[in-house]
């Protein structure tokens, strides 16, 4: 029994099919509980007023925006090294989810920033690197869409993902250097001083868990779709060959 068994598309489909309902239900329950808890049962912040409630969407989506890219990096590496098709397709399946998470983080941030910082957008390092991450996602998806041959596309996009990761990290440090930030530090770190108060962090943890589950559910489902789309292509090619 090892993780590589799931590199077999049939096995992957059979297993994900079994856990899918649990994942959908789990993410729906966690996100609902977390957001309801956060929206109805948390106090207002003494400085931010009720806008603090936006944190329950902003932080989990930002978390997933970065981790989605990280997951794509890992699956791209697996594809480059071990050439399991499921891995490459999982990277492809994750990218649009990552884009949506990035957009949610940017939008909620802008809506929050308008009353708090007095501006929708500032060229703050964190904001800017998220915008750059968004551009990386767009390029990655565009490259997948542009190439017909699926193996070529998988190879090229995974190398782009590897190179892009290095440059994304570089950009992160470059923009840090380039402008001082308005953005607050980490909301949840081991350093207690920086942390948000417990009243906010508990529902926030629930929301983050919900977003993680939702991401896993979406990626599993979309990977299944990509596997089937691949199979359709293969079947049609075979039919044309026989005809």
């Amino acid at each position: 029994m090892s993780i590589w068994e799931y590199a077999n598309p049939k096995k992957f489909l059979a297993t994900t099919e079994k856990v899918m309902p649990a994942l959908w239900a789990g993410s729906a329950v966690l996100i609902t509980v977390g957001l309801v808890w956060g929206f109805f049962f948390t106090p207002d912040d003494y400085r931010q007023g009720s806008t603090v409630k936006i944190i329950f969407l902003h932080v989990p989506s930002a978390l997933m925006a970065i981790n989605a890219w990280f997951m794509m990096l890992v699956t791209s590496l697996v594809w480059v090294i071990r050439r399991h098709h499921v891995s490459a397709l999982a990277a492809r399946a994750a990218a649009p989810v990552g884009v949506v998470m990035t957009v949610i983080a940017l939008i909620t941030g802008a809506i929050w920033g308008q009353p708090m910082w007095g501006t929708w957008w500032a060229w703050d390092p964190r904001l800017t690197s998220f915008l750059v991450l968004f551009l990386f996602y767009l390029g990655y998806i565009a490259l997948w869409e542009a190439i017909d041959n699926p193996d070529t596309a998988a190879d090229l996009t995974s190398i782009l993902c590897l190179v892009g990761s290095v440059f994304a990290v570089l950009s992160r440090y470059a923009v840090n250097f380039w402008n001082q930030g308005l953005h607050q530090g980490a909301s949840l770190s081991l350093d207690k001083k920086e942390n948000v108060a417990d009243a906010f962090s508990n529902p926030l943890y629930v929301c983050m868990a919900g977003f993680v589950l939702l991401f896993i559910a979406l990626v599993f489902y979309r990977t299944g779709t990509e596997i089937r789309a691949r199979r359709i292509k293969a079947l049609m090619a075979r039919e044309r060959l026989e005809a």
């Binding site: 750059v132 565009a142 542009a146 190398i159 190179v163 440059f167 570089l170 470059a174 250097f177």
Partner: protein, 218 residues
């Protein structure tokens, strides 16, 4: 290797090679800037380093699609791939040829255009130095983008989308050097970081470009 470099240089210099187009584009962009932001000389002086860096970057970007596409179309890329020369060296030479025919002229034209934009006197030296250090990175990163999209019809727009985000750190540090130089501030930190990016890109990216090219030639 030298033969390949000379061949690429010759091809670029001949008619239809597109030599000088990048330069002309750089000029046009710089001339358009005052039209769009207004002719106040203080404003132009303030934005001159950034505008010149951005113009050079765009000129570099636009000349990239000729870098490999022509050799791809007439099949000489396949020959180069089967030649005894490793593909990594081939793409490095290609990037070098691109830098000599595009990057270097841009560096030399930049001070002249700096005059047009009222660049402060202290800025000229740092503008040239930063471009000299930064444009090789632009060429090498661009070669990677060109290798990614070489098999595609109308890959030009896609290539811009892929290459631009990769240019971000180079652009930030490069124009930071030029800006600080123009304002008479210390330039050492961004200069070292820019040099670091260039050196690392030149050392590592040819491997990625060659890998990508092998996939495309498969």
């Amino acid at each position: 290797m030298i033969a390949l470099l000379l061949r690429d240089l010759k091809l670029a210099l001949r008619a239809g090679g597109g030599f000088g187009l990048g330069l002309a584009f750089f000029l046009i962009v710089t001339v358009m800037v005052p039209f769009s932001v207004g002719p106040q000389s203080e404003l132009l002086a303030r934005i001159a380093p950034g505008v010149l860096w951005l113009g050079a970057l765009l000129a570099c970007l636009l000349s990239l699609d000729r870098l490999l596409a022509l050799d791809w179309e007439d099949g000489s890329l396949d020959l180069l791939a089967t030649a005894p020369l490793p593909l990594e060296s081939t793409v490095t030479i290609k990037a070098l040829a691109h830098w000599i025919t595009t990057g270097l002229p841009l560096v030399m034209a930049a001070p002249v255009l700096g005059v047009l934009l009222n660049l402060p006197a202290a800025g000229f030296q740092w503008l040239v130095i930063s471009l000299l250090l930064g444009t090789p990175a632009l060429s090498v990163i661009g070669t990677f983008g060109a290798a990614l999209t070489v098999g595609l019809k109308r890959g030009g727009l896609l290539m811009s989308l892929l290459v631009m985000p990769l240019y971000v750190p180079t652009l930030i540090f490069g124009s930071e050097v030029a800006r600080r130089g123009a304002e008479g501030m210390a330039v050492q930190t961004p200069l070292l970081l820019l040099a670091g990016i260039s050196a690392a890109s030149i050392a590592l990216l040819p491997f990625a470009s060659a890998a990508v090219l092998r996939v495309n030639l498969r």
